[in-house]
Amino acid sequence: MRQTVTKLAQSYTPMIKFLGKHPVTKHPIEILPHPCTVNGLVPGGEGCLNPAEYLKNSKPFVVVPYKKQHASKTTADGAISFTDRPLQNNEVSSIAELPAKYRFKPIEEKELECINSGGVM
């Protein structure tokens, strides 16, 4: 039975033309444009742009979380929230860095005693 099926397969001439083994294709030496390019653009050719210039002129894709876009100035209980930023001209990060005349005066011994005892003099 198997032999008959094999003989039938061997005697059948397919209607589709069988191309045979892949031929070795030789490519031309000339630089040809990519099939999907427009206007025959090739590397080093006219119309090519510098990638750095292209990136400079194109808007980057960024994801900006909504909370960051709309950071509120006050917190829910009304207290002021501070946003971190670099120091500007004539700013210091602590009172201790101010010139002496602008710092708090040291508290005297007598005043300290008064405060610690509840303010009764």
Partner: protein, 493 residues
């Protein structure tokens, strides 16, 4: 202009001092184009390295594209079928069928993790050196791999790879929409659309291309009221005109609304809603819409950030695509470019074909990609798939053709599955009857289009296909019948 026979080596003193690894081929980018090129290169005997900064291989396709979207499409379709179709098929469901969004996402994430892990196993099998970091050019034969902050497994310090051959496969990114800020919560890109934690009640999509239509299908099935806003007068990007109209018709039947020839002027989030202003292209009439989520799906663009392409004189065109010749060569013959970052359709399988061809060009001096036969598939239900020429393209090229069409309502298998929406349309040369294009709307169209691709590649005529025995009952019989309709008459319609 003639090709350079040998690669020019340019020296960088810094690279000479710091080059600490050497590979014959370095692939920059681990997406479909890159990882396939790396595997092919290793199989051809090259000492191969692949540089990827995402932290996982597979690129956009596996991580935030084809794969997760197909998982969501499949599961949302199953949910929709159980809800709307079960009773008619004799399946009584005791209780309610509900969507568990967390588990839906979990299943999708599991599939993605398994596939990306699978590629890492393939890399290990083929002994491909995998560098987690950002790849950039030091010169034409040195690629620097820089550490990426917060990336697990990233190279600890800058590593310079000395190499003979480079394949650039850096892929693409989402194209932003001017004036609309994406937050991936309410105003989202396709990446955010794949990870929504809740089903929006009202979902507006800017863009009627494949990505927009697929996401529309998912969320419509899950219960969202979906509106697609498209600037062009028809949806479907490069679809055949008749197929695009039929696609819009069945999507409309599924509850998706369309605003074609409509321009989006603004999209602004205010709290938990997004306010959108649109304008009709024809008469300039303005309209205000409101949505719970807005998807920006207006396309993708090549990604070359951080590559340092300008350092070695690589060039781009006005759309940011790296310029190459017909052998994928950049300005330097030892540097080839494949995939979304260069010319051609932005499809994963196109990138894969190019990845293989680029390596074959390196190895044998010959590679092959047939850009006239790259299939496209949209995974709606029914699916839409096509390859070769459209009617519009043939008319524009003044090529006389004949059309053979067969509806799935006349196909036995489609009937048994109660899934008969759609048709097969085959375009053949009027004189030689050679198949020039095939367009399918129907169940499993994405699988069936492979037969069309093979027929086109072999230069088959409609009769050649019709004389091949197709199993019964199968959906593929519709393809055979369409071929018969093209050159003669169908038997079952």
């Amino acid at each position: 202009m003639l090709r350079s026979v040998s690669s020019k080596r340019s020296f960088s003193v810094a690279s000479r001092l710091f080059a600490n690894k050497k590979h014959e081929v370095v692939v920059i980018g681990g997406g479909p184009g890159g990882y396939i090129a790396a595997i092919k290169a290793a199989q051809q005997g090259y000492d191969t390295a692949c540089v990827e900064k995402r932290g996982r291989l597979g690129g956009t396709c596996l991580n935030v594209g084809c794969i997760p979207s197909k998982a969501l499409l499949n599961n949302s379709q199953l949910f929709h079928q159980m809800k709307s179709d079960a009773k008619g098929r004799g399946i009584d469901i005791d209780g309610t069928v509900n969507i568990n969004v967390a588990n839906l996402q979990k299943h999708k994430d599991t599939v993605v993790k398994q596939l990306t892990g699978g590629i890492e196993m393939l890399f290990k099998k083929h002994k491909i050196a995998y560098y987690k970091g950002e790849g950039s050019f030091e010169d034409t034969t040195h690629v620097k791999v820089s550490p990426v902050d917060g990336l697990e497994g990233s190279v600890k310090e800058e590593t310079v790879l000395e190499t003979e051959k480079v394949i650039v496969a850096t892929g693409s990114e989402v194209t932003p929409f001017p004036g609309i800020t994406i937050d991936e919560e309410r105003i989202i890109s396709s990446t955010g659309a794949l990870s929504l934690k809740e089903i929006p009640k009202r979902f507006t999509i800017i863009g009627g291309g494949i990505i927009g239509l697929e996401m529309a299908s998912v969320y419509s099935r899950l219960g969202s009221e979906v509106t697609i806003v498209e600037f062009q007068p028809q949806i479907g990007a490069s679809m055949d005109g008749e197929v695009a109209k039929a696609t819009q018709k069945f999507l409309k039947k599924q509850g998706i609304n369309f605003k074609l020839s409509t321009k989006v002027l603004s999209g602004v989030r205010e709290g938990e809603v997004v306010n959108i202003e649109v304008e009709a292209v024809k008469d300039g009439k303005k309209e205000k819409l409101q949505a719970d989520a807005l998807l920006v799906a207006v396309g993708r663009r090549p990604y070359i950030k951080g590559l340092n392409a300008e350092k070695i004189g690589l060039e781009v065109d006005k759309r940011g695509r790296l310029v190459i010749d017909d052998q994928f060569n950049s300005k330097h013959p030892n540097i080839k470019v494949v995939g979304d970052v260069t010319f051609g359709p932005m499809l994963a399988h196109k990138a894969e074909e190019e990845g293989v061809a680029a390596v074959e060009y390196f190895k044998t001096g010959h590679g092959h990609v047939n850009y006239n036969n790259i299939p496209s598939v949209m995974y709606s239900h029914p699916e839409v798939a096509w390859t070769g020429q459209t009617e519009e393209q043939l008319k524009e090229a003044n090529i006389k053709f004949k059309v053979g069409k067969f509806p799935f309502i006349a196909n036995s298998r489609a009937k048994t599955n109660s899934d008969t929406e759609g048709f097969v349309k085959i375009l053949i040369d009027e004189k030689t009857e050679r198949i020039l294009g095939a367009h399918i709307i129907g169940p499993n169209a994405g699988e069936m289009i492979a037969e069309a691709g093979l027929a086109i590649e072999y230069g088959a005529s409609a009769e050649d296909v019709a004389r091949v025995c197709h199993a019964h009952p199968t959906l593929s019989e519709a393809f055979k019948e369409a071929a018969m309709a093209a050159y003669d008459q169908p038997l079952n319609f």
